[in-house]
């Protein structure tokens, strides 16, 4: 267990492709940090740089106080869980778990003790003598986790570990990973493109875009006070609505709820109502589509070129094609300037 520090970390590939630029990030001992962003944002590259699988072209990474830039992955004392599990296909589950320990010359009784312990925690004891290909996806995932646990490393690195599982199993494993991390209190860095996974797992969330950090904070912080338009649009489902300030008809109706210089106004679907709730901005709209999803419905609204999604409870008493009025709660508006930075 250890803290991980990144200072001014960069990765430039030959041909001047900047995958990661000037990343500063301090991950506390025992913290669960999730790197999230669209594909190609550099999150996996950053994780692999921490692991030592990618070289670092600028800046420093230290794990547990020592700079590890020039160390081999094995010397960094980290364990990694891969997207496709990367289990050794010709070894039994037990041999898979033991392999890393054997390579570090761990004494036999200690190996047996740790494997038994990991098998018990992950409930894979019945499969210890099987080969990976005889296991289901979820079981393989557990073995991959087990391989990380037995090492008792300074940090766990997860590279989209749940992407290959079906939706139901993914939800289940997500909860298990969270429990496991709470129990072992091992510093963890987790990469995902799935914002739901990110929100539910993270102590702290790092949103990345085109090689840079957009915002770091707790999931609640990021959800309630996104610092950039990108974060606002990335976190939350359905995504936040954005309206151009210039497209809004009535300047007075905003009632001073957004500061001067606002170029774009963001509002979450749950803060768009079809009947007024508190002080709000009324906009005449047409219902384009209604998506009922159980406890709530997503109403897609259209007005000229503007497009809004309203998340309303139950089933609204309106039909597609009918005119209606959208009420945007003034207290819940997110103002962004022309560069996409949050104002106030």
């Amino acid at each position: 267990m250890a803290a991980i520090e990144l200072s001014k970390v960069s990765k430039v590939y030959p041909g001047k492709v900047r995958a990661v630029e000037d990343i500063d990030l301090a991950i506390g001992d025992g913290e669960f940090v999730v790197l999230v962003g669209p594909s190609g944002c550099g999150k996996s590259t950053l994780l692999r740089m921490i692991a030592g699988l990618e070289s670092i072209t600028g800046g420093e990474i230290s794990i547990g106080g020592g700079v590890v830039n020039r160390k081999e992955p094995a010397e960094r004392d980290i364990a990694m869980v891969f997207q496709n599990y990367a289990l050794y296909p010709h070894m039994t589950v037990r041999q898979n778990l033991e392999y890393g320990l054997k390579n570090r010359k761990t004494p036999r009784p200690e190996i047996d003790r740790r494997v038994a312990e990991a098998a018990q925690i992950l409930e894979i004891a019945p499969f210890l003598d099987r080969r990976p290909r005889q296991l289901s996806g979820g079981q393989r995932q557990r073995v991959a986790m087990g391989r990380a646990i037995v090492r008792q490393p300074k940090a766990f690195l997860f590279d989209e570990p749940l992407s290959n599982l079906d939706a139901k199993l993914r939800g289940q494993m997500r909860v298990e990973i969270r429990h496991l991390q709470r129990r072992l209190k091992t510093t963890s860095v987790y990469v995902t493109h799935d914002q739901l996974e990110a929100m539910t797992l993270a102590d702290r969330l790092v949103v990345m875009n085109v090689g840079r950090i957009e915002q770091v904070g707790t999931p609640t912080d990021l959800f309630e006070k996104p610092q950039t338009r990108f974060v606002a649009g990335f976190i939350g489902s359905p995504p936040m609505n954005f309206l151009e300030r210039s497209a809004l008809p009535d300047e007075a109706a905003l009632n001073g709820s957004v500061p001067a210089g606002t170029a774009t106004i963001g509002v979450r679907p749950e803060h768009v109502n079809l009947t007024p709730e508190g002080p709000s901005l009324a906009l005449p709209m047409t219902v384009a589509l209604i998506e009922p999803i159980g406890t709530e419905s997503h109403v897609h609204l259209r007005w000229n070129d503007n497009h809004l999604i309203a998340a309303v409870r139950g089933r609204p008493a309106i039909r597609e094609g009918e005119p209606t009025t959208a009420h945007l709660q003034l207290a819940a508006l997110h103002p962004f300037d022309a560069a996409g930075q949050r104002l106030a």
Binding site: L53, A74, A79, F82, H90, Y99, G100, N103
Partner: protein, 282 residues
């Protein structure tokens, strides 16, 4: 193969049986010939049933050979053939495993050039480069030796290419997981790649053993000492006698004996062989 009609299955069986007969009949004839006395072929009629001289013919060939035709006892030639076939097969596999490993997993300058150079040698079989190869072997003093018989045949572009294709299918994550688990390049090769290529190696061993066993031209060139004759070239020497009638009965006995080791290798390794050609263990 969805339909199941009686005449169709009759036809398929017929084709298969004809095929088997075509392949098996010459072998049967060779076996029959090896059981007769030396005079039985002078009559012009080839016997179709086994004769009484089987043990005599085989025993004579295994222990004495035909000294008039310059053929040493078959047992010596069988041993020579086995030794060089094994050295060639094992050597080819070892060298091509290593070169494929270097080409696939290491980034070094002129890597592609190295690969293509190896690949291009596919166009140069032993027969094409036989004069320079003979010169090299002769200058090294390797004529009439096991090394001279086997080493020039060991370099193999085909096997290198095969292992390269297999290594390319090994996911990068496996290498990375091994690195995180503390396996260096040699350990990765030994603990991961070798066990994973087990079936490929077995399949190649069968093919290469037979390749080495069937070598004819090269042993003919580099051996003048009877102690290093291989069985395939020995057969030719026996059949090729001057001013005498070839003793077909004992030649055929030698042929039968020469067939046994490759057949044994194929039968013993059949399961692994088929597995190596059709499936990858992943």
């Amino acid at each position: 193969m969805v339909e199941n009609r009686p005449w169709l299955s009759f036809l398929t069986h017929l084709v298969l049986i004809v095929g088997v007969v075509i392949v098996v009949f010459p072998v049967y004839l060779a076996f029959i010939a090896s059981t007769h006395g030396s005079g039985d072929f002078m009559r012009g009629l080839v016997p179709l049933l086994p004769g009484p001289h089987m043990l005599e013919n085989y025993g004579r060939m295994l222990t004495q050979g035909i000294s008039t035709a310059g053929a040493p006892p078959v047992s010596i030639m069988l041993m020579n053939s086995t030794i060089i076939a094994i050295v060639i097969a094992v050597g080819k596999i070892a060298i091509s495993l290593l070169s494929a490993y270097a080409i696939v997993f290491f980034k070094f300058p002129f890597r592609l050039l190295a690969f293509w150079t190896i690949f291009i040698t596919l166009m140069l079989p032993v027969e094409v480069r036989i004069y320079p190869t003979f010169k090299v072997v002769a200058d090294l003093g390797l004529l009439n030796s096991y090394w001279g018989l086997s080493i020039p045949l060991i370099a193999s572009a085909t096997a290198t290419f095969l292992f390269r294709q297999f290594f390319l299918t090994v996911p990068d994550e496996l290498l990375e997981a091994a690195r995180v688990d503390g396996a260096g390049p040699l350990k990765f090769f030994w603990d991961m790649l070798l066990p994973l290529s087990r079936t490929n190696m077995a399949a190649l061993f069968v093919i290469l053993f037979i390749y080495g066993w069937n070598q004819y031209l090269w042993p003919l060139l580099v051996t003048t000492d009877e102690r290093y004759y291989t069985v395939v070239m020995g057969i030719k020497r026996m059949a090729d006698v001057a001013d005498a009638i070839p003793q077909w009965n004992v030649v055929m006995a030698t042929v039968m004996l020469a067939m046994l080791p490759p057949v044994a290798v194929v039968i013993l390794m059949q399961r692994l062989f088929v597995k190596g050609l059709v499936e990858t263990e992943k």
